[in-house]
């Protein structure tokens, strides 16, 4: 690891000021991606701003038909939250499947979303559930937020404070994990809320998480796995690597989507 200065602010406002006055600063949330990245010297921020001293960023609550999850809520907190299990059980199940127990004790939803790893689980949930990302400055819809691999709509100095999810009528996430890393080789999240159907895919896209309008249209006629029979995904826009070819991922998307619909 290269050397850096370390700050532990106690409020979001203080953290934002530090972020603005330090050009090469990075926010530290759960650290489960950032610290390994620093150890490999793949990043060299001059300043780390640790959000773990900011109180109140990990609150999980249901307000009306909207689930609020604080940015610093750990994966284990989301997985075990009675509120989440009641409102959106698919989201709790997704959190339970991230990494391993030790990672889930540290990793946060805000960190995962801000990093937008193309194989991370949470981006699929946010996109498929039509979530809203709240920052210290504004609200961003999930459709506008994920802009490419490891890229988001976040501006310099912006800090995610919470994510809000409208509660769906039906939802499920189905993932084919890489057996070693547990990251999604392909993960498909489906949701139905009123007449709106959303299908989001992680792990496969060359530009990160994406929606499948063709699948959504088919499911809006009838929300059943059978509705997806015969639908295919073009492998040209997908990732191929040592773990799976683009063609294999295209095939897996169909399989995972059907499983998710069946489970929803």
């Amino acid at each position: 690891m290269y050397a850096f200065d370390y700050h532990r602010p106690s409020s979001v406002r203080q953290a934002a000021n530090m972020l603005k006055s330090n050009g090469e600063a990075k926010l530290l949330a759960g650290g489960q991606t950032l610290i390994p990245t620093l150890k490999q010297r793949l990043a060299a921020p001059e300043v780390l701003i640790d959000l773990n001293g900011v109180e109140g960023l990990d609150v999980i609550e249901l307000k009306g038909r909207t689930l609020h999850v604080g940015a610093m809520a750990r994966h284990a907190d989301v997985a075990n939250s009675e509120v989440v299990k009641e409102a959106i059980p698919a989201l709790a199940a997704l959190a339970e499947g991230i990494g391993d127990p030790h990672v889930r004790h540290c990793g946060t939803i805000g960190g995962s979303v801000a990093n937008n790893d193309p194989a991370a689980d949470y981006p699929a949930a946010l996109l498929a559930l039509g979530a809203t990302i709240h920052t210290n400055e504004r609200k961003i819809g999930a459709d506008e937020f994920f802009t490419g691999m490891f890229e988001t709509a976040l501006e310099d100095g912006e800090i995610i404070t919470k994510i809000t999810f409208p509660v769906p009528r039906r939802a499920a996430y189905s993932k084919f994990p890489n057996p070693a890393s547990r990251y999604a080789l392909v993960g498909v999240f489906v949701s139905k809320r009123g007449s709106e159907i959303r299908v989001a895919v992680t792990g496969a896209g060359a530009d990160g998480v994406f929606r499948l309008p063709g699948f959504e249209d088919a499911l809006s006629k009838r929300f059943a796995a059978k509705s997806l029979d015969g639908l295919t995904v073009d492998a040209d826009d997908l990732n191929g690597d040592i773990h799976a070819s683009a063609e294999y991922r295209a095939h897996l998307i169909g399989v995972m989507a059907k499983r998710a619909v069946a489970a929803a």
Binding site: L28, G31, P36, D50, D100, R182
Partner: protein, 157 residues
């Protein structure tokens, strides 16, 4: 260099660290508590698992400065009054190890599993060991030991 102060195995400790010093480096190199091992150093193997404020974490993936004010338990903090912790005793009884390198992390994870889940099924134990790698045993006796340790920790025999 920043000074960190924390409680490790119920004792107050402090020391000067670099901001980039990992918790496992502080524990091993400064506190000389070398029971916590560094296996992969890439957040995968779980040999470095300790408890921070009651939760099992990988101490190779946490900065020492982050733990300022925290309460940390390492494998050295489990035995009390010269008696092995029930989970340590179960690992010995069921021979839940061969070379022993992964054992401190396995036992710290095992205690965390029992703290959270009580007496889990064999299937749950295997799932919960996702983040702990053993290259000798094939896990069978580790799983057996954790089941036995869990029963004793929950008042059984």
């Amino acid at each position: 260099m920043p000074t960190v102060a924390m409680t490790v195995n119920a004792k107050s400790v402090s020391g000067e660290v670099e901001t980039r010093t990992l918790l496992v480096e502080f524990v091993r190199d400064q506190l000389r508590l070398t029971g916590t091992h560094v296996g992969c150093d890439t957040s995968q193997c779980g040999a470095c698992v300790v408890h921070v404020d009651g939760r099992a974490v990988k101490s190779c993936t946490m900065l020492a400065v982050q733990c300022d004010g925290a309460s940390v338990t390492t494998i050295e903090g489990l035995a009390a009054n010269g008696e092995l912790h029930p989970m340590q005793a179960a690992f010995r009884e069921h021979h839940g190890l061969q070379c022993g390198f992964c054992t401190p992390g396995m036992i710290m994870s095992a205690v965390d599993i029992v703290n959270r889940l009580g007496v889990p099924s064999e299937e749950t134990i295997r799932e919960e060991l996702e983040g702990n790698i053993c290259r000798c045993t094939g896990y069978h006796n580790i799983v057996k030991a954790i089941g036995a340790g869990a029963r004793v920790m929950n008042g059984g025999t």
